[in-house]
């Protein structure tokens, strides 16, 4: 009797759906929603990790307004995201255009240019980057070869340190490039042929055919990369540790320091939630501007 009813339930069509999505549902619940809930609770607590949290209401959020380092970290993160993301997209698009023509060797080049994005966020590349920009590193040596003899400390100067991180971000243009590449291929060649017949120049074709038809892809890339840009951690944590003088202190690194180094874990959790709101607003703004520049009728 019991067996039968279980069987009946399992045979329902919805059951299959539930079972099949179970791994994902459980994953979301256990590894995202539950920790998020706990984090939200901690953000309302005075919590030092070592002893149990005590509820303090919104104190952590209020404290942020008088925290200079918080604003400094926000500034650095905005600067980094707002500069590195557009640069990366432009770069990705240029390379995608170059690799559009299919010859025997383009496959290799596509893979080669994609490689940095796979390994880009890794600790190894960050350490490599730190060595490259060291006083006696590759960059200064190369400059020496072309006659600029310098012992400039790229990572130790407040004006240049953040730019080395931006450069690293731009170098990891691979995944955007691949997405650009696939949508470039979807633009019908008939459009270009027609334009050529009408005597349109190459730049004219780019700005009036390619770019408008790419806007949905650009939009997608922009949103995803922007979110990623705001959440960047490894580069700052490994390469510069926020130095010199907090000029490369990414928001997430500050959050990490507050949470685990200064043992203000409640405050760290509050920082995380503020970041969530900030990224949410940025994403919302991007969506709000969408109808002004994204061409969605498709081809």
């Amino acid at each position: 009797m019991k067996n039968n009813s279980i069987r009946k339930t399992l045979e329902k069509e919805s059951a299959a759906g539930i079972v099949c999505t179970l791994p994902f549902t459980l994953g979301i619940l256990l590894f995202i929603l539950v920790p998020m809930g706990i984090s939200l609770y901690y953000s309302l607590c005075d919590y030092n990790i070592l002893s149990p949290p005590t509820f303090v209401g919104l104190d952590n959020y209020v404290e942020m307004f008088s925290d200079e380092t918080f604003f400094k970290a926000i500034g650095v993160t905005f600067f980094y995201a707002l500069i590195s993301v557009p640069l990366r997209l432009v770069f990705a698009l240029i390379v995608a255009m170059l690799l559009l023509r299919t010859t025997r060797i383009t496959g290799f080049y596509r893979a080669a240019y994609y490689l940095p994005s796979i390994i880009g966020g890794s600790v190894a590349v960050s350490i490599l980057w730190r060595r490259m920009f060291a006083v006696d590193g590759v960059v200064n040596n190369l400059l020496g070869l072309i006659g600029i003899d310098t012992r400039f400390a790229w990572l130790g100067d407040t004006r240049t340190a953040i730019w080395t991180l931006i450069l690293l971000a731009v170098w990891q243009f691979g995944s955007s490039m691949l997405i650009f590449l696939s949508s470039l291929k979807q633009i019908p060649t008939t459009l270009y042929e027609a334009a050529r017949v009408d005597g349109a120049s190459r730049p004219y074709q780019f700005f009036h055919i390619t770019l408008p038809l790419l806007t949905p892809t650009i939009f997608f890339n922009l949103v995803m990369q922007m979110i990623q840009g705001f959440l960047a951690f490894t580069q700052s944590y490994i390469i510069t540790q926020g130095k010199p003088m907090n000029s490369t202190l990414f928001y997430t690194v500050y959050m990490y320091k507050q949470s685990f180094e200064f043992k203000h874990t409640g405050y760290g959790a509050a920082l995380a939630w503020v970041m969530l709101v900030i990224v949410g607003i940025i994403t919302w703004i991007l969506f709000a501007t969408k109808r002004f520049w994204v061409y969605e009728d498709g081809v």
Binding site: P35, L40, I49, P244, M245, F262
Partner: protein, 438 residues
């Protein structure tokens, strides 16, 4: 529209990862004991250190496993700064390693929060034998009424220097240098060789060491026990050093892992403008520094400079081993602590790298196997530090770690010429006091 919604959702999810980060990052840290069905025990054992220590500790643990079949170790080591972040995260997940290496400055935090096992019962029932251990050394692991950690050696601040370089240029170093004598050496070295001085950049201990000369304790329980004039004098060292050119540029430290012996400018950098002739460290880093030094560089050892060396200098328990309350096998862990403290075989492997063994019969037994540098360290502690030192400052409270960061930042700003030493002194008090109180 549907597309947009799913895109927003995807975006939100990516952000969710971020906030999830905070509650859930304990996963990869320590894991508590696991006991398999056949009675085998696996203990996690964690420490911070350097290459020499990592190798020797691993070898000692292997020996224990060999003598006690069924006991295996999961050894976890990290650099000092990362170690504490890792340990804090693990404690939140109730996943502290069974045996943790402890430092004097963190002992109070962990013991008072109930994260460590009281070792008194094990000492009383003889699991951990302490017959040949001095009572004051045993008491250094005390918090409240219990002994929560077992000291594993005696240590002292020590300055290592490039003896080869100084000898070549006819510069001699004497022990217990005063600040003025030290500054003269810095200037002379810089003039003659171009080598600069690393004045304890990134160290949270040196400011305390310096201020002790004026009978002031920086990290007091609820406030900074230090006067503005002392702080001004302290930050002026950095201001003057940059102006006069002998202080190493802070940008050098943007390229290395601060706190790593192997990457210290004394041994890591080769060109004079990024290298330092000295390194303010601790006696138990002597062996590692020597082995990290490039060939042909002889390393000397002396005391840290201070306006009043006798008041500033101190002996300190180099570090401790403790058993965490997350351990499922504290009994076995206690046996391991006994092994480390009392086994001659074990200490023949460790060879006083963490500090001179606290069991006097063990330290006698291994003395003939000690390396040249270990002997130098023992002589240094016995003959140079012990007659010229004062009692160590009380352990720093939890809030101090934020002040360490503030101090680093202020030194950095002074070195970059952003603020004057007087500003730094003022800011240290203005911002540091609320940190200590909060």
């Amino acid at each position: 529209m549907k597309k947009q919604i799913s895109l927003v959702l995807a975006g939100m999810m990516a952000m969710g990862m971020l906030s999830a980060c905070d509650g859930n990052s304990g996963g990869t840290s320590g894991e508590a004991t696991t006991e398999t069905s056949d009675g085998a025990v696996s203990l996690t054992f964690s420490w911070w250190g350097n290459q020499v220590r990592n190798e020797r500790t691993q070898a000692a643990l292997d020996l224990y496993s060999e003598q006690n079949p069924g006991v295996t170790f999961d050894a976890q080591f990290a650099e000092y700064n990362d170690y504490w972040n890792k340990l804090a995260t693990a404690s939140a997940g109730n996943a502290l390693p069974d045996i943790v290496q402890m430092d004097y400055s963190y002992l109070e935090q962990y013991a008072s929060n109930g994260l460590l096992v009281d070792l008194t019962p094990y000492i009383e029932n003889g699991t951990i034998k302490t017959d040949n251990v001095d009572q004051t050394i045993l008491d250094s692991g005390k918090s409240g009424d219990g002994i929560y950690a077992l000291c594993n050696g005696i240590n002292a601040p020590a300055m290592f220097y490039n003896k080869t370089l100084l000898d070549e240029n006819g510069i001699t170093i004497k022990d217990n240098m005063t600040m003025d004598e030290f500054l003269d050496v810095c200037r002379e070295v810089y003039e003659k060789t171009g080598y600069k001085t690393n004045l304890a950049y990134g160290s949270d201990a040196y400011i305390d060491y310096y201020c002790r000369a004026y009978d002031e304790i920086v990290y007091e329980s609820d406030s900074l026990g230090v006067s503005e004039s002392t702080l001004d004098a302290f930050y002026s060292l950095y201001e003057d050093g940059i102006k006069e050119g002998w202080l190493i540029d802070p940008s050098v430290f943007a390229e290395v892992t601060i706190g790593s012996v192997e990457q210290d400018p004394l041994v890591y950098n080769s060109s004079p403008d990024t290298a330092s002739w000295c390194f303010l460290a601790y006696t138990n880093q002597y062996a590692a520094t020597k082995s990290a030094a490039p060939e042909g560089m002889e390393i000397g050892i002396t005391t840290w400079p201070s306006p009043d060396p006798t008041k500033s200098d101190y002996l300190k328990p180099s570090q401790f081993f403790a058993i965490s309350s997350d351990s499922a096998n504290p009994d076995e862990a206690a046996k391991v602590l006994d092994f480390i403290t009392n086994s001659v075989e074990c200490n023949n492997i460790l060879l006083a790298e963490r500090g001179v063994p606290i069991n006097s019969s063990v330290s006698d037994a291994i003395s003939e196997n000690l390396t040249e540098e270990d002997r130098e360290v023992i002589t240094f502690i016995d003959e140079v530090v012990t007659p010229n030192c004062s009692t160590i400052s009380p352990p720093a409270p939890t809030a101090a770690s934020e002040v360490y960061n503030l101090n680093d930042l202020l030194i950095e700003q002074v070195c970059y010429g952003q603020i004057t030493a007087a500003d730094a002194a003022k800011q240290m008090l203005e911002e540091g006091n609320p940190m200590m109180a909060g």
